[in-house]
């Protein structure tokens, strides 16, 4: 089996390299047979990577400790689900998993476009296959996943205990799906630059890929936050760790692209800017992989240090320089056909939205790399941690929240004074009213007041947009209110899906701000039967129990929670001691409500049963996760392929085909 895995990877690399050559040669010489051959090679590459992955998963399940990777990341006592997810628990396995997702996406993109976009597709395949060939080269020459041990151990080292968690089963795959999906829009952008087809064809064709990439990256970040919240046990969900930042930066630039691309579709402007954003987003996904795998910056998330860093840097340089040259060569054709009419317009609001998103991305990039810069310039090691990122990014993020309310209702092209008054008077008054009410109720922190007020403003604008659209539809089509709302979303999925996503983002803003600003914390050492208070809760330590199996030993505390003298819950935080590798881990317990989370951590229990317990009250953190669910719903509305959308798409393709024939 090991030989099959190795052979499959060698052949996959060869087919990926051939796909690049055949597609580029075929497109340049207009030889359809070469293009078809290159595309078949890309399908074959996918099949071969599937075989290699199956061999690795089989080895993990059957404890084939001859393979170094299997011995290093699994054991005979590791539960089955974690043996499977050990595929992405280590460096080599995660690169193989990356290659699997990438080659699958290349095959899917080719299949989707087998009868359309034939001019662009050879370059899309060639670009994506180049990326696949890079990752396969690493797997074949630098970090081979099927490397064998001369003396296989009887038992494996096991998977890192922090990775033995439900959220870690879904966090890396969603993050990888997000990272890798950006390869396809990048491929379309390169295809457009190579062929000179610089109209909005590549944008329309890759739109769903962009939304999917953005969606999975959003989920990946949220799942990671939830994992940190439940597993790391420090009461928070985002630590501005370099690896977290690496996933956050392409999300920001991707979000900027999804907004600015609307201006290109509507006004045929910002072509250079959109190209730059797509290239930047894809480059940031590779930069993120570099950060995680190079060891250049210390992070709790990163893989063990390896020699991969220089390879990623060279590849990153190739992407930036190669794409940059193509953009420069096409700069004349990328010139806009229209001009902006006024600074008071939706186009301007989108541009400022882009500025703030890129500002946050730059601040995050700058803060992440500043320790390296400081050491190089001054020879002094410094740390750039959460206080820096919170202080620098918070004002930019709050301004962005305000723009989320302005963008959707300000007029395209030019907003008159009358229009501004009509559109913004009530939302602004509502925002001020809610902010004033929060102040009257005792909210005194400026950051919290601004976020509350701006959130109310944004929510008002979104509700007003839905209401006005439904009312218009009721009078025009004669539908009931509910049917009109549904009809509205069906008619313009992207617009109303986007509004729903905005609502989700507002919920996230509220959750993040309130749980950061108004968090309460208590740490107490208590005997059995003793109680202590945290916020409106009283916690009584009732009992401690220990248990053990072949995999780990557990120490569990039983805590009874009271509110106003009434028992409302019983919590069981745990301390776990994994046996291979010997490592303690925290299993927090929490009571989550819409108002706040009571979050308890068991610090220790001594021989006499005295426990040290840390308790947090995190206000509104439930809304952060709820915002994630709303974001999923909004994205589903935006991308769900309805019959109407398919008919419109077909009509558009026919029109484009006719224009091309003419």
């Amino acid at each position: 089996m090991i030989e099959i895995g190795n052979l499959a990877l060698y052949l996959a690399l060869a087919t990926a390299a051939y796909a690049v050559f055949a597609c580029v040669y075929g497109a340049q010489t207009r030889r359809r047979d070469f293009i078809a051959s290159g595309e078949h090679a890309a399908y074959a590459c996918w099949g071969l990577v599937c075989i290699a992955t199956v061999v690795m998963v089989h080895a993990l399940i059957t404890h084939d400790f001859r393979i170094k990777y299997v011995a290093g990341y699994s054991s005979t006592t590791l539960p089955l689900q974690y043996r499977i997810t050990a595929l992405w628990g280590g460096m080599e396995g995660s690169l193989l998993f990356w290659a699997l997702i990438l080659t699958s996406f290349v095959a899917l993109a080719q299949f989707q476009n087998r009868n359309r976009n034939r001019e662009l597709m050879p370059y899309v395949t060639a670009t994506s296959a180049t990326v696949a060939a890079f990752f396969l080269s690493l797997l074949v020459f630098v970090t081979p996943p099927f490397a064998v041990l001369s003396r296989p151990p009887v038992e494996g080292t096991d998977l890192n205990p922090l990775l033995q968690n439900y959220w870690m089963q879904i966090h890396p795959p969603s993050l990888y799906l997000g990272y890798v999906s950006w390869t396809i829009p990048f491929g379309f952008a390169i295809g457009a630059l190579a062929t000179g087809r610089l109209d909005d064809l590549w944008i329309r064709t890759s739109r769903r890929w962009c939304l999917a990439a953005w969606f999975f990256l959003s989920l990946g970040n949220l799942f990671g936050a939830r994992w940190a919240y439940e597993v790391l046990g420090w009461g928070g969900y985002w630590a501005w760790d370099p690896v977290e930042n690496a996933a956050f930066m392409p999300w920001l630039t991707g979000t900027a692209y999804l907004h600015s691309v609307m201006i290109q579709e509507r006004k045929d402007m910002l072509k250079v800017w959109n190209m730059t954003l797509i290239i930047l987003t894809f480059a940031l996904t590779i930069f993120g992989t570099f950060l995680t795998r190079s060891g250049v910056i210390s992070s709790v998330h990163s893989f063990t240090q390896s020699g991969l860093g220089p390879y990623f840097l060279w590849f990153l340089a190739l992407i930036v320089v190669g794409s940059g040259i193509l953009v420069v060569l096409r700069i004349r054709e990328l010139r806009p056909r229209h001009k902006l009419d006024s600074i008071l317009s939706r186009e301007s609001a989108f541009l400022f939205n882009n500025l703030l998103l890129l500002g946050i991305a730059f601040a995050t990039f700058w803060g992440t790399l500043f320790p390296v810069l400081s050491e190089a310039v001054r020879g002094v090691k410094i740390t750039v941690g959460p206080p820096f990122f919170n202080q620098v990014n918070a004002p930019l993020a709050i301004a962005l929240l305000l723009l989320m309310g302005i963008g959707p209702i300000i007029a395209w092209r030019r907003a008159s004074a009358r229009h501004l008054m009509e559109s913004f008077l009530w939302p602004a008054l509502f925002g001020l009213l809610v902010g004033g009410a929060a102040f009257a109720l005792g909210m005194r922190t400026l950051q919290a007041l601004l976020v509350t007020s701006f959130s109310a403003f944004v929510l008002y604008t979104v509700v007003a947009e839905f209401h006005a659209g439904a009312r218009a539809r009721m009078s025009m089509v004669g539908e009931g209110y509910g049917a009109a709302l549904l009809g509205l979303m069906r008619k313009n999925q992207r617009r109303y899906g986007g509004y729903i996503i905005h609502v989700g983002v507002v919920f996230m803003f509220l959750g993040v701000t309130m749980s950061s600003v108004y968090r309460l914390e208590e740490i107490h050492t208590v005997k059995k039967g003793e109680e202590f208070g945290v916020g409106r809760y009283t916690i009584r330590y009732d009992d401690a129990a220990s248990s053990e199996n072949a995999h780990m030993a557990r120490l569990t505390a039983t805590l009874t929670v009271f509110e106003n003298g009434q028992q409302i819950d019983v919590l069981h935080p745990e301390k776990r001691f994994y046996k291979r590798p010997e490592q303690p881990a925290t299993e927090v317990d929490l009571r989550s409500t819409m108002r706040d989370d009571l979050y308890v951590i068991l610090g220790s229990i001594d021989d006499k049963g005295v426990a040290t317990i840390q308790a947090y009250v995190n206000p509104l953190v439930w809304w952060l996760w709820c915002g994630g669910v709303v974001l999923v719903l909004g994205t589903a509305v935006a991308v769900f392929p309805t019959r109407r959308a398919r008919v419109l798409e077909r009509a558009r393709e026919t029109a484009v085909g006719r224009r091309q024939q003419a």
Partner: protein, 155 residues
């Protein structure tokens, strides 16, 4: 409005910095040296050899009347700048704090400048001579604008 919000927030932050630092603030100002990558406040390692004694020292020092900044300075002297969770805003480190805002400000000025320039040109266009290559009575510009108006109406 966004700039007003930024300024307001900046003022708020500045005034917040003048308030005495709480125990939590000082703990947040120091990075744990146990390798967890978190601040002294957030580190949750069992029996952490760094965070636990430092937390105790911070509490005792504040009770003795030492200010938060004095405690941070003392730790920076003992362990070097790397123990602080954010760069001190002096010398080369000032660059860390101002570069993001300078980048946003420059970007904002460029956007405003570019839009004003385009808007100025756009306002002049209706009076420009019609395209001599166009056989239509309406210029390409006017047709494009008409298309946009229709699109707007249909929205």
């Amino acid at each position: 409005m966004a700039l007003v919000a930024l300024l307001a927030f900046g003022v708020g932050n500045a005034s917040a910095q003048e308030l005495p630092m709480s125990r939590g603030d000082v703990e947040e100002g120091l990075t744990c040296q146990c390798g967890c990558g978190l601040t002294v406040h957030a580190c949750n390692h069992l029996q952490c050899s760094f965070a636990i004694p430092v937390r105790k020292d911070i509490a005792e020092s504040l009770e003795r009347g030492e200010t938060g900044q004095q405690i941070l300075d003392r730790y920076a002297q003992k362990y070097g700048e790397k123990v602080l969770s954010s760069p001190i805003a002096t010398g080369f480190n000032v660059l860390a704090w101002i570069a993001p805002y300078v980048a946003v400000a420059v970007g904002g000025i460029l956007i405003v400048f570019a839009i004003r320039r385009m808007a100025h040109r756009s306002a002049e266009l209706p009076h420009a001579a019609p395209d001599e290559h166009s056989s239509d009575p309406a210029s390409q510009q006017q047709l494009a604008r008409l298309r946009e108006e229709i699109e707007e109406f249909e929205r």
